[in-house]
């Protein structure tokens, strides 16, 4: 059934369809209406879950951890400051191997206060070990939440679903809502391999000496590597049931492209429009979108970027003292390739600044007129 929904409403819908059993969440702009809608449905009985009305995001994640360790399917949502407050427990969740799903409505970090979108909040959580999905549409948000539970519960690692604050969270789009029975078939009830059980008592996450700790980390990394296959399998089976397909790296008109524009989140749609324009003008240009950031789509990048002459990465984030984060990651993947494209690292859209077609055109024009970047960080639309 198709409906016109905001991104936040879509998240709530996805939580309901996934038959989440425990929710612990705390309001923050632009995530707030997710919490409100879930509370409303919970109160009316439409959503059969336990909603823990915690006093902070830190407690939200702690309660999620407790409930997940007790075997339940759990959910939380947050943004920026809230995600940062959870940081300690994001690490904990991974070490504890709990398949929690979190929606982060991307918002730039303070100071100064801001509520608008960029990706530094979630990218700062890169090394915690959560799977990270960056969505471009509300439909993708819905589909990704459902897929994330499938994936996480198979590999015992948590997933973070990102959507751009306001650009998606507060924008209405047509969303195809799947039938509950199809979702139930795709996503059966969670069966935890081990749990807190008075009839089978175990001690979880106690002090661990160097003799064991490293092996536990090794297993997480191995699982992350294997997750690539699990993610693709989940996407394939999703397509079989629901008809929509997703890839870790999404491409647009890359056939014979000499130049590639790489982005993530909602910028990607704008980039496609620019590609159409440029193609009409005779330029051989295509676009790519990083959908899954962890595990990073290493093979896909190697294969697709190898023959390209120039690749421009538009990062909606900045790692101070280095470059944009996705730019760094792509660069490190391509280092070992014999045929390496020229790489250009652009920064745009910080703190919610619009990334317009003109912005992306400027990135293309820069690449078109330069044989190599003049600076490691190329700021688009910046007042100096």
């Amino acid at each position: 059934m198709k409906k016109i929904l905001t991104g936040n409403y879509t998240v709530s819908q996805a939580v309901k369809l996934s038959r989440v059993e425990v929710i612990a969440a705390y309001p923050i702009t632009p995530q707030t209406s997710v919490v409100e809608k879930l509370s409303e449905w919970n109160a009316s009985g439409e959503l059969k879950a336990r909603f823990i009305k915690v006093e902070s995001e830190h407690s939200a994640m702690a309660s999620c951890i407790g409930a997940s360790a007790a075997g339940a399917r759990v959910f939380t949502a947050t943004s920026a400051q809230g995600l940062a407050l959870m940081h300690e427990l994001l690490h904990w969740t991974v070490g504890a191997r709990l398949p929690i799903v979190l929606v982060n409505v991307n918002r730039a970090m303070a100071a100064p206060w801001t509520v608008w979108c960029d990706h530094n909040d979630s990218l700062a959580q890169r090394d915690t070990g959560w799977l990270q999905f960056y969505c471009e549409s509300n439909q993708e948000v819905l589909d990704s939440v459902i897929q994330a539970y499938r994936i996480s519960e198979e590999i015992q690692l948590p997933s973070m679903i990102m959507m751009d604050g306001f650009f998606l969270s507060h924008t209405s789009e047509p969303v195809d809502i799947p039938d509950q029975k199809d979702v139930d078939t795709y996503l059966p009830r969670r069966e935890a391999p081990y749990t807190l059980d008075v009839d089978d008592p175990h001690t979880f996450y106690g002090g661990t000496v160097p003799q064991y700790y490293a092996e536990m980390r090794y297993k997480i990394q191995k699982t992350m590597e294997e997750a690539r296959g699990v993610v693709n399998k989940a996407a394939l089976e999703f397509k079989e049931t629901f008809g929509r397909s997703y890839n870790p790296l999404e491409f647009y008109r890359i056939e014979d492209a000499g130049t590639l524009i790489v982005s993530s989140g909602t910028m990607a749609g704008t980039a496609r429009c620019v590609v159409d324009e440029l193609r009409d003008e005779g330029y051989s240009v295509g676009a790519a979108r990083i959908r899954i950031f962890r595990p990073f789509p290493v093979e896909e990048i190697r294969q697709a970027f190898g023959g390209v002459h120039k690749v421009g990465v538009i990062d909606r984030n900045i790692s101070f003292g280095q470059t944009g984060i996705i730019f760094q990651e792509i660069k490190s993947v391509l280092y070992t390739e014999k045929e390496r494209p020229l790489l250009f690292g652009f920064i745009a859209g910080l703190g919610g600044r619009d990334v317009t077609m003109a912005t992306i055109r400027r990135a293309f024009e820069y690449m078109n007129t330069h044989d190599e970047p003049e600076e490691p960080v190329l700021w688009l639309d910046i007042k100096r």
Partner: protein
């Protein structure tokens, strides 16, 4: 209720804590946990934050707990326990006591926000604070449970703690939770009775159990129970219950003796002058009077 009376009730014989744990000789916490598990029995799940209690249970893959034991981050004792309860509830697991087990640092300080939130919502958990009056696991630093005048690593002898112990019982009572009680490892029947009573109540239940720490208090390891007994007898650590934030009952008052008798056994108080000891006696008397006011 002055003087010793016979306390009804027996300590169950079944053990839920094995030998081989790593606690120091004379550890009050281990005694408190052993008794708590005896009182609560098999259908108990422990939620334990950073602190001595987390460490002395044993290092992976060893554990001395015979009930499920969830380690959790330092400040999340209450919030993680709330999550466990929710998880059990939605999965239809009944008749389990979710036992949040935090030290005074985890409770009075870093985890106070989460505990206050859980209490305000009257979440169905039994929270026990084993109170050894400092951060012992990190090597004896002050907490807000450290009493006035005490030495710790961060309140050295020439600058001992110059503020009174936080009145955590009053803070919990202010949340109007169904049950709050202070207890002591020196009075196991009283402690066990309180836990059994708490077990049968729905909602947030708080028990604060006085747990001597020989290494932190600079006492010989064979007098922990004696020190704990003197704390009650001197009324520096009175044993009472608060129901629904207003019904106060002193459950046991074997004293009084002079607080000096309690202080003089402990190295952490050895620097105190007579004037300072008099000051502590004055404060104890005053606080006792205030407690009697509330009982009336």
């Amino acid at each position: 209720m002055v003087g010793y009376q016979k306390i009804e009730g027996r300590i169950p014989e079944q053990e839920w804590l094995s030998c081989g744990h790593l606690a120091c000789p004379g550890c009050g916490e281990k005694l408190a946990m052993r008794l708590a598990l005896k009182a609560l029995g098999k259908r108990t799940i422990l939620v334990v934050p950073a602190g001595c209690s987390a460490v002395v249970d044993g290092m992976f893959p060893h554990s001395s707990s015979m009930v499920p034991f969830l380690h959790t981050a330092f400040e999340t004792t209450a919030s993680a326990a709330v999550g466990v309860r929710a998880g059990l509830d939605v999965r239809g697991v009944d008749n389990v006591t979710v036992l949040a087990w935090g030290g005074d640092g985890a409770t009075f300080d870093i985890g106070l926000q989460a505990l206050s939130a859980a209490a305000e919502r009257n979440e169905n958990i039994l929270y026990v604070c084993y109170d050894n009056e400092a951060y012992m696991n990190t090597g004896i630093q002050r907490s807000s449970a450290t009493p006035w005048g005490a030495w710790t690593g961060t309140t050295p002898y020439d600058h001992p703690k110059d503020r009174p112990k936080k009145d955590m019982m009053a803070i919990m009572a202010a949340h109007k939770i169904p049950y709050a009680a202070s207890a002591s490892v020196a009075f196991p029947e009283d402690y066990v009775n309180k836990l059994k009573k708490a077990k049968a109540i729905f909602g947030t239940r708080y028990v604060q159990v006085f747990s001597p720490c020989p290494s932190g208090w600079k006492t010989p390891s064979d007098i922990s129970v004696k020190v704990a007994r003197l704390a009650v007898e001197s009324r520096i650590y009175p044993l009472y219950e608060i129901e629904y934030g207003k019904r106060y009952t002193i459950t046991l008052d074997p004293g009084p003796i002079a607080v000096k008798e309690y202080l003089k056994l402990q190295g952490r108080f050895r620097h105190l002058t007579q004037a300072e000891i008099d000051q502590i006696q004055h404060n104890v008397d005053e606080t006792w009077e205030e407690l009697l006011e509330k009982v009336r």
